[in-house]
């Protein structure tokens, strides 16, 4: 699904990722953990093609296509979704309108017709219900006045409607109470399928209790320094980065 080779990324003149390698196959769930400033968010932005994240070396290949050659909206059209750490507010644009525009833009990219309004309404209502979101929230402007938990839940509703092939979730679990965490985890689990893949970036092991990853990677100083299974996350929780021989600055 996704192959990242020797990725070097510079932000504002400073090199953040320094030769990162990562391969994610269909059906897999990967978790990336790491100390603050290790480059976790940079990785997610670089995969999505955000402006200001300059790729100086390396490659990102998605289903055999060169991702680095595509605009962010094209990558989304190819089936990439980013769950934002801090979802953005868009005043005056209803959640429903936003999501419908997004979905139809992606369909247009893939050469499909717009989804009929009635079908869209059914779809979004069903997904909101699955994720326990008040349907009234769909009419409210995107993320405006939402609590931290509501914003993250909203990201999950968007993900469910857009139904991506590859979801990159940037600290989707942070700021959630335990009930919200369970709902978000369920949203992620619903996406799990043999033809899809998920990359979770998280600070805490607790999300991994609900979404069990196939691989856990530790990112430090711009590289993946350790890879294991779920037990690595547990060991990390117990011993800390230093205990595993990983210093903040690596």
């Amino acid at each position: 699904m996704l192959e990242i080779k020797n990725l070097h990324v510079t932000v504002g003149g400073k090199e953040i990722l320094k030769g990162l390698n990562l391969t994610i196959n269909d059906g897999e769930v990967h978790a990336i953990m790491g100390p603050n400033g290790a480059g976790k968010s940079t990785l997610s932005y670089a995969i999505c093609g955000k402006d200001g994240y300059e790729i100086t070396e390396g490659s990102v290949t998605y289903k055999g296509k060169d991702f680095l050659d595509m605009n962010p909206d094209e990558r989304a059209g190819e089936g990439l979704f980013l769950g934002f750490q801090y979802p953005v507010e868009i005043p005056g644009v209803s959640n429903m309108n936003f999501l419908r525009t997004a979905l139809n833009s992606q369909r247009c990219y893939r050469g499909d017709k717009d989804m009929a309004a009635v079908d869209f309404l059914k779809l979004i209502r069903a997904k909101a219900k699955e994720l326990d979101m008040d349907p009234e929230m769909l009419k409210r402007p995107v993320n405006v006045g939402f609590s931290g938990g509501e914003k993250k839940r909203n990201e999950m509703v968007q993900m469910a409607v857009l139904d991506p092939n590859l979801a990159v979730l940037d600290e989707t679990d942070s700021g959630l109470d335990i009930d919200a965490l369970k709902i978000v985890a369920e949203g992620i689990n619903r996406l799990r399928a043999s033809d899809k893949a998920i990359l979770m970036i998280t600070h805490y092991q607790r999300l991994l209790d609900y979404v069990v990853p196939d691989y856990v990677h530790i990112l430090a100083d711009g590289r993946i320094v350790k890879t294991g299974d779920k037990s690595l996350a547990l060991a990390l929780e117990e011993k800390g980065y230093v205990g595993l021989g990983i210093t903040e600055a690596a």
């Binding site: 955000k50 402006d51 909206d73 979704f81 934002f84 868009i90 005056g92 644009v93 990219y109 402007p141």
Partner: protein
Amino acid sequence: MVATKEAQKTVEDVTGEYKYGFVTDIETEKAPKGLSEDVIRFISAKKDEPEWLLDWRLKAYAKWLTMEEPTWAMVEYPEIDFQDIYYYSAPKSADDGPKSLDEVDPELLRTYEKLGISLQEQEVLAGVAVDIVFDSVSVATTFRKKLKEAGIIFCSISEAAHDYPDLMKKYLGSVVPVADNFYSCLNSAVFTDGTFVYIPKGVRCPMELSTYFRINEANTGQFERTIIIADEGSYVSYLEGCTAPQRDENQLHAAVVELVTHDDAEIKYSTVQNWYPGDKEGKGGIYNFVTKRGACRGKNSKISWTQVETGSAVTWKYPSCLLIGDGSVGEFYSVAITNNYQQADTGTKMMHIGKNTSSTIISKGISAGKSQATYRGLVKVMAGAENARNFTQCDSLLIGDQCGAHTVPYIEIKNPTAQVEHEATTSKISDEQLFYCLQRGLEVEDSVALIVNGFCKDVMQHLPMEFAVEAQKLLGISLEGSVG
């Protein structure tokens, strides 16, 4: 009739002899460049106007000569040579303008296509000489018949001067006096056409009135005059302009609009202005210096202005309300977009004169490129205006870092019972918002359009439906190329 004889003589005076230097050509008929009493007589004669109207024009001209061009607005443009302008030009003949759409700027056609405008309409808008009588003319005739049955007068100002002289005499210049300002005074001297609407007592106009139905008369020149009167208990919604950019060689537009509502009457006036804004380097474009004012004369009457201003190189425009009748209501909803080198200085004046009057102002300014947008507003509560209420909200959105947004609110209160609220914000389309939209699959231009439409929602929802959809598309089109 003396007046007719006079008029005939005037026609002879101004058209018959070469010494006045008039170009009298059957195909195109123009007054010579520049402004003089003779030119005004020529215009009046061309319109076959009654004597009193000619006098009115001449008085305005005499006054105009003593006035100075205002310089207080936050706009800059080269000095206008008022003697280098044609003040009268007969409708274009088939020899002027492009022969077919092939000769029209492809950029313009691309915009029409995006707005979903039919080929026939495109031809008219682009100024292509169309021989065939197309559908909307017959549509217009049907509508006019229906309006006539309801007792509604909906005609050109020239027709009104002939057919309804009493109404014209009563209302012309009654809201915007001749000497109100430099441009309104100029308009009073040389206005060439415009629209006259009268809604009789108790009549609710059965359709949205629009100049669009008079599209066959679209080339009415740059000095339009519009008068709308809503008699007791009546209602009318009037749409001005067109969402498609109009091909236009006129550099200066100085229109005057006067609205009057009597007891319990309401006028809703919506404008989408999309004149040529000049090119990306700031060359060319229309100077749009417009005076629009409504007088709520009757008690509990209401005037509501909604405007979407996306065109013109320079806009100078303050649709205002005189809240004279007790309990009258004034509203101003505005979206002004400037891109590239456009400049807009726009806002409103709410004059609270009667008791229990209230006004609402919602202004959304969007600046992109190297443009400058200014909101300039006055809320004035007179001594006798007990319990006046005003709410003002001015929001500015900046795109890029080379544009400017300015807010200049004036508040003058002479009655202690007044309640006036003013809120203002300035924000930018952030990289974060843009990336969020892109990541969800929206293209850059769609993302900007979506964010801007969200920003303008409070205003757009006041537009009549058929206008709102096109206006939404227009916001996106106006901002094309402003990001990325």
